[in-house]
């Protein structure tokens, strides 16, 4: 499932995938894969992304159960 919230939060901060990747010390491909839903990041990387984007884990990574 695509992580559109991450993409939106990154865009709101006016960061490119490469800039976010550099900030959290991963490759651009990793950020791209997370946004596309192809890769589930570790909690450590999730926290680094949240800190960079000033968001909480819930805001970016919690998936609400569909009713």
């Amino acid at each position: 499932m695509k992580n559109l919230r991450l993409k939106a939060a990154r865009a709101a901060k006016d960061l490119s995938q490469q800039e976010l990747a550099d900030a959290v010390n991963v490759s651009r491909q990793t950020i791209n894969a997370i946004e596309k839903g192809d890769y589930n990041p570790t909690i450590r990387l999730c926290r680094a992304i949240c800190r960079t984007l000033d968001k909480t884990l819930d805001e970016l990574f919690w998936e609400d159960e569909e009713v």
């Binding site: 991963v26 491909q29 990793t30």
Partner: protein, 172 residues
Amino acid sequence: MNEHAIGFVTGLVLAILVIGMVKRILYKRNGKMSEYDEMQKIAQGMAYKYGFLTAVSAVVVCSVLDILNIHLFADDATAMFLVLFLSVGVFAGCSIWKEAYFGLHANTSRYVRFLVVVTAINLIAGIQNLRSGEMFSNGRLNYRCVNMGCAILLMVMLLIMLIKKKMCETEE
């Protein structure tokens, strides 16, 4: 030890020294050693797995054919070199495709230029061996085909890098 063996061992030692020097130049000039992120490490693990399985499968096939006395297209040592190229090619190809081949701080363009030079050297040596007919003995490939095998492996790697680069340009 005859002259041929001394030359072979000297070449091997020189190759190891050159690889060590090139690695230092490619990775240490910017003060950072190669580092991979968590997704790259997972991708590399999968690539190693595929490379290993390819090597095991190819060695089993070669061994069974040898036991059955079915002559391969290459002599024993050459067949092992070709198996090596095949498994390295699978590992490198999978890693490049998943963008896990180069570390986070690697100078990719410098590395690619180095690969192009090595490919050209091997291709020239391979074509010379092919044209002189030294690549075959008793109708089978001998160790002189190693340059051509190496050139083909590197060309495939460069081709995958090129395709991946084109794909990434339109990704974000």
